[in-house]
């Protein structure tokens, strides 16, 4: 059981700066994020796109912003739990017991949800029956590529993940690659490689096709695909892999007894506390009159939520407001010399 003063859910810009604010005022925190990297939407959706409305930063990309925030919290050695999704939040006396899908547990008086629009999950095949074989013969990510050796694998998608895996798995498996149009959005070198492997007969390419149904009783047997001209093909396959990118789902947050309106969590604007004492929501996921979904709003919300955490984490102490320019205590926490 990890004990901490505050647990932050979400390692996007708001979560990172909230961590900074907690550490500045002398509280511990740890951060959980479902993605395998730090940065949230900034890194997953627009790493290369310039952002123009961060105060005092005329222009920076999502990746640059993330790196700067990581640098800003470097002095604090904050513990990150990546590739973990918080599934359960339960009250036990005056603490919240938080469990992730990997079984990591936390005991904390404060939970700060900085979850953006929820957790990133793979987009799935629209065909309903696919659920039956999910994680068995229908997969959205690959953990162990050896299971495909000597098998027929049908890959759907036109981006780098689909193409990279088609190339890689074609060494040991029979590959079908299905994509809804002729153009691929993956790196040109990989696209060329796929075209070449297709000419050599190592990859069967089906463009302008999409999945319409699947067949199989106890295991996946075949997949039906249809093109724009309504031509139908039936392909025998052992596995189907879908690489359609990620989508944000509110996920388990919906089950924690919070007031939720249109995928956002209602908070007050003093502490950014939800209807549950000790659970706060900041950044894109919170909702209050006048809410703006801007990164700068997330910074403000996190700063106030951090101060609210102090009361529950240090019930016998009084929080004292200090400036980073003058406070010796804060400079010690940052590990910088004071004048």
């Amino acid at each position: 059981m990890n004990k901490t003063d505050a647990l932050i859910i979400g390692a996007g810009p708001t979560g990172l700066f909230t961590a900074h604010q907690l550490k500045i005022i002398g509280l511990d925190c740890e951060i959980v994020d479902n993605l395998d990297k730090i940065g949230g939407q900034c890194i997953e959706l627009y790493p290369d796109k310039p952002i123009y409305d961060i105060p005092a930063v005329p222009e920076c990309t999502g990746e640059e912003l993330t790196n700067n925030l990581i640098n800003q919290i470097k002095p604090f050695n904050i513990k990150f739990h990546l590739s973990e999704r918080v599934d359960e939040v339960k009250k036990e006396r005056d603490k919240w017991i938080v469990k992730t899908n990997n079984g990591t547990t936390f005991s904390t008086p404060n939970v700060i949800i900085a979850g953006g629009v929820g957790s990133f999950e793979p987009r799935k095949f629209p065909v309903k029956e696919c659920e039956k074989f999910e994680n068995k013969s229908i997969l959205y990510s690959i953990k162990d590529k050896t299971i495909f050796e000597g098998k027929t694998v049908t890959i759907f998608g036109g981006g780098d993940s689909a193409l990279d895996w088609a190339v890689e798995l074609s060494k040991t498996s029979k590959i079908n690659l299905v994509h809804r149009r002729d153009d691929f959005r993956g790196a040109q070198a990989t696209v060329d490689k796929v075209q070449q492997l297709s000419k050599e007969g190592k990859i069967n390419l089906f463009t302008k096709y999409q999945m319409t149904s699947i067949k199989g009783e106890n295991k996946l047997e075949s997949i039906e695909i249809k093109n724009d001209d309504k031509e139908i093909k039936n392909i025998k396959t052992d596995y189907a892999l879908g690489f359609f990118g990620l989508i944000m789902q509110l996920g388990p947050i919906a089950n924690w007894g919070l007031n939720i309106d249109k995928k956002t969590v209602e908070v007050d604007t003093e502490k950014f506390e939800t209807n549950q004492k000790g659970i706060y929501a900041v950044g894109d996921i919170c909702n209050y009159p006048g809410k703006l979904k801007l990164i700068l709003s997330g910074f403000h919300e996190g700063a106030l939520a951090a101060r609210a955490c102090f009361k529950l984490a240090r019930p016998n102490e009084k929080y004292r407001f200090e400036f980073t320019t003058s406070s010796k205590t804060i400079k010690n926490r940052l590990g910088v010399k004071s004048d």
Binding site: Q41, Y46, R123, H179, R181, G245, I247
Partner: protein, 106 residues
């Protein structure tokens, strides 16, 4: 100003007036029309404001920008007449536009 008609997957018809300069996505969100999530807020980064354009309207819209087709690869059941509604900007010429909302955005 343009009258835009949104038809949900269960055939509910919503016709609303949307100001010029807004997007078809914003017209839906501001009028509480269900089925358009717009998770990324109009940044062409999520494909959750996917709509189908009524055939005769499809060619009248401004062409897709680079990147929209890439995002549509990820949309739920994309078709030939698929667009991201955040990329269609309202003008007088779009008066009468009809869009169909898919049954799902993810």
């Amino acid at each position: 100003m343009a009258k835009i008609t949104y038809i949900t997957h269960d055939n509910q018809v919503h016709t609303v007036e949307v100001q010029n300069g807004l997007t078809v996505m914003e017209g839906a969100v501001q009028n509480d029309i269900p089925g358009i999530d717009a998770d990324c807020g109009g940044g062409m980064a999520c494909a959750t404001c996917h709509v189908y354009i009524k055939e005769d309207w499809f060619d009248k819209l401004t062409m897709k920008e680079d990147g929209e087709e890439d995002m549509l690869d990820m949309a739920f059941e994309p078709k030939k007449n698929s667009r991201l509604s955040c990329q269609i900007i309202i003008s007088d010429e779009l008066d009468g536009l009809i869009v169909n909302i898919p049954s799902n955005q993810s």
